[in-house]
């Protein structure tokens, strides 16, 4: 996969102005439980069951598992963007249950999300430029470090795309705009929820290379949600395997993929041959 880095993204991504090295973990989740009540039958469904997770500054953590295993629910709850659930969540050392509304609004830009469907992540009525202008109005100090054209340059888009509307962008372009919007906020944690599943194969490698590049230059931590084990393997240090809302196995990628201890992990690896034979670097 390393050759993609060289061809996919030029090495001219300027250095990021922030140095996020610090001892506080970016995200700590202890015994998180998220339950949904089924509207029709009224039964409780436990989407996330006693999950603990820790992401150090600059670390790259993956959550893998089949559809419906609770990956996205976990990420949304852990970042305070979705149904909160029970359990302790500390974002940059602040417990989400203890912070006030205003504190939470200040804390939120530290976590930015890149979704699967790039077109759904952009307001269809806003051009790229007016969308960026709104982000700048929301977080003036945080976003003043770069202008629009340079920002688009960092995700390898030409500045003339600024006046386009989302429906005028290709999937790959829209995903790059989403990454640029996340980048603008100088987040400490980027949550990437299946960031390549909605894209053509040829664009997937580009977007992954871009994410890797951004991580290297900004020092942001990455929480990658995926069912593509090859992608996880190429991008992440630590992997959590989820099955039916529980983390069944967690550990460094090399160890989990090399000598899986859990039956489900073994099954998952067997279903995805790419993860086994593709060596890491």
């Amino acid at each position: 996969m390393s050759e993609v880095t060289e061809t996919g993204v030029p090495g001219d991504l300027a250095r990021h102005p922030r140095t996020p090295e610090s001892d506080t973990p970016v995200l700590e989740v202890d015994d998180l439980v998220v339950e949904h009540r089924d509207g029709g039958t009224g039964t409780l469904f436990r989407a996330v069951d006693q999950v603990s997770l820790r992401i150090a500054a600059g670390e790259s953590v993956a959550v893998v598992g089949e559809s419906g295993s609770g990956k996205t629910t976990l990420a949304m709850a852990a970042t305070g963007l979705g149904p909160r659930g029970r359990g302790d969540i500390r974002l940059l050392g602040h417990s989400l249950s203890a912070v006030s509304r205003t504190q939470l609004r200040r804390l939120r830009p530290e976590v930015q999300v890149v979704f699967q469907d790039p077109h759904g992540s952009l307001d269809p009525r806003q051009s790229v430029r007016s969308g960026l202008r709104e982000l700048r109005a929301l977080q003036p100090e945080r976003t003043s470090w770069i202008d629009d054209a340079d920002l688009l340059g960092r995700v390898r888009l030409a500045p003339d795309l600024l006046d386009r509307y989302p429906h005028q962008l290709s999937g790959g372009q829209a995903q790059r705009v989403c990454i640029a919007r996340a980048l603008l906020m100088r987040p400490r944690l980027i949550v990437a929820d299946e960031p390549t599943s909605g894209l053509d194969v040829s664009v997937q490698a580009d977007v992954l290379a871009l994410l890797r590049q951004i991580r290297a230059t900004t020092g942001a931590a990455l929480l990658m949600i995926s069912h593509d084990l090859a992608v996880v393997r190429s991008l992440c240090d630590v992997v959590h395997v989820m099955y039916r809302g529980r983390v069944v196995e967690a550990g460094p990628c090399d160890r989990v993929f090399g000598t899986p201890e859990n039956d489900y992990t073994r099954e998952l690896l067997a279903a995805m041959p790419g993860a086994r034979w593709r060596s890491r670097r």
Binding site: L81, P109, V113, G120, R125, Q139, A158, G172, R176, S202
Partner: protein, 296 residues
Amino acid sequence: MSQLELDPVTAPVSPPRRAGRRARTSAFWLALPLAVAAVAVFVLPLTGLLPDGGQNLDATRQPPAFLAGGSWAHPLGTDKLGQDLLTQFVSAGRLTIVIGLVGALVAIGPGTLLGLLAGYFRGWVDRVISILIDAQLALPFILVALAIIANRGSSLPVLFLVLALTGWAVCARVTRAATLAIRERQFVVGLRAAGASEPRIVFRHILPNLAGTIVALGTLQVGTAILVESALSFLGLGVVPPMNSWGSMLASGQDELSQAWWIAFFPGLAITVLVLLVNLLGDALLTHHDPRKRRR
């Protein structure tokens, strides 16, 4: 979506939205006669071309000019008091159009707001508003109208109150459903992550995305308001003399049908054509803004 991703920077813009353009063209051709009619009823009285609308007991129940016995002095004929029907028709049309527009606005405004709140905040807000919607839709409007008008008498403000009460629920229901769909879109989560406040998300992002649907609903509501007003006026509960609407002209013409059918015929025809055009326009706009018929 472009499959030629060789150079993302110059990837082609998606092809023009043909279906959308067709809907826009038909909306234009439907809106044109409506606009001409609206301008006509406001401008004609100012030109002095209309016959004098006063009583003339020597020329009662005259037929229109194109029938035997008619004259161009009274192009649409006269009523039982010898008043010119064209003059009445124009002034009644003016009030009918005003009632249609204002009646739609007073229904759409609260309907949209309540639908937005229910759809966005869900929970108990949604439950309360949904019960109100269902209760409203279960009540026959004529009963509501009768109760209010019997209590307050007929006047324009009371008429608008009735129109608002009978019209808001449909709009609230549609807006609620559309809001429920849009709030799950990922850009809403992205905005929240950027620190956007709830009012900002609702009014700067969700509402503009509903604008097309709301305009279309509003247009359909104009038609409904005109029909409701006509029905109420026909029953003697809507517009009362000295004011005149097409509905009240219809009502005053009904007992003359055997001797002078034209008194009721032209206002009736006008209501039918107007409501038909407005509804077709509303449908065209709704099609244009239907996400399923729209290219992304």
